[in-house]
């Protein structure tokens, strides 16, 4: 077993173990398929400051999810998550809770697959449910 294959296998511990850094999340693809199996990965949602070049900052948040590609494939996802720009389509959606806050839904805006180590990092945006 090569070191790279070993490193990918280690993701089960370093990325997904719920006793370590693994946090539960739900992933919904554009066809609205969501794996029934509980998925785990590294989640983040932190404050940041945006500079829109006007000389005045805007407060923002930077939300991310990192997941193991092999786990997503095994869970039934046929494609890797990606940002969907087409307004006529549903985007990839992610749900996870903060360490002390309720679960929140996000849209996948951008994804960075790391095919060397077998993981994918998703940049997330706030998601508003449909108006009643």
């Amino acid at each position: 077993m090569s070191l790279r294959v070993q490193a990918e296998a280690d993701l089960a511990v370093t990325l997904e173990a719920s006793t370590d850094f693994g946090e539960p999340f739900t992933l919904t693809d554009p066809s609205e398929f969501a794996s029934a199996e509980q998925l785990y990965g590294a989640v983040g949602d932190i404050g940041q400051v945006l500079d829109v070049d006007t000389g005045q900052a805007v407060s923002g948040r930077h939300a991310t999810l990192t997941a193991r590609i092999a786990t997503l494939t095994a869970a039934g996802y046929t494609n890797l998550p990606e940002g969907i720009a087409d307004a006529a389509s549903k985007p990839w959606l992610v749900d996870f809770a903060g360490v002390s806050t309720a679960s929140q839904r996000y849209k996948v805006v951008q994804s960075f697959p790391d095919r060397t180590l077998g993981l994918i990092t998703m940049i997330l945006a706030f998601w508003n449910p449909a108006a009643a």
Partner: protein, 239 residues
């Protein structure tokens, strides 16, 4: 020993008055537009709403901690920040003792926010698109308000006998520029900034100028004689 001023400088300079007037005109008119939109039975009168501020420098924190609110409860109306950037004082348009023309540039920055929104029946409204539409709608309202005929002189034109005021000569939209956060920001909500730079020329007065007699009164009657000749009678008040 140099002479010191013996009177308290307790006035506002006119560049401050003009800045506040720009903000007041935008604020009053956005409120009026919401009322007009309601009267016109527009489906969403809040699209005419602006949140107006002056000289704010601390970060905008809107759309930060309650993004999961339904859109109907989320106030995504554009933010407007009016601030003075710079001014020049042309020597040919003033005197060294009393009055100096001040050509100032005010930035009217409009911030549009957007959150990705689900659509019943399929598709979604991308947040980046919403942010741009909100910002451009905001700058559209600002430009139309400031360039309306009623505001040629920002309603600060001095009139005969009026107290000393800015005596605005001209206002002109110098430029409109769009900004976007840099690529590395990757924020969870979309923000777009658009700047309308407004150039305004008005008077500044030296502190010793007495507001009560800052303007000299000149009465002029223009009459046309039967042969078409114009006769001008001017009356100067020397008292």
């Amino acid at each position: 020993m140099p002479t010191v001023l013996t009177a308290l400088i307790d006035k506002q300079d006119n560049f401050e008055v003009v800045r506040d007037q720009i903000a007041a005109l935008i604020n009053l008119n956005q409120a009026a537009q919401v009322i007009l939109a309601t009267a016109a039975a527009e489906p969403d009168p809040s699209l005419w709403k602006l949140r107006v501020f002056t000289e704010r420098a601390q970060p905008w924190e809107q759309v930060l901690n309650e993004p999961e609110k339904p859109l109907a409860e989320q106030d995504l109306s554009p933010i407007v920040n009016v601030w003075y950037e710079n001014g020049t004082f042309p020597e040919a348009q003033g005197d060294t003792v009393k009055r100096q023309a001040h050509t100032a540039t005010y930035n009217v920055d409009v911030y549009g926010f957007g959150i990705d929104q689900d659509v019943v029946g399929g598709g979604h409204i991308p947040g980046d698109l919403t942010a741009v539409r909100n910002a451009t709608r905001g700058i559209r309202l600002v430009r139309n308000i400031l360039m309306a005929a009623e505001n040629i002189y920002l309603q600060l034109r001095n009139k005969d006998g009026a107290a000393l005021g800015p005596g605005v000569w001209q206002r002109w939209v110098q430029s409109i520029t769009s900004f976007q956060p840099d690529l590395a920001s990757e924020s969870a909500h979309a923000v777009i900034g658009i700047r309308l730079a407004l150039r305004v020329t008005f008077n500044e007065y030296s502190p010793q100028v007495d507001e009560s007699n800052a303007l000299e009164t000149v009465h002029v009657d223009v009459q046309r004689a039967s042969d078409g000749m114009l006769i001008v009678d001017a009356e100067y008040d020397f008292t």
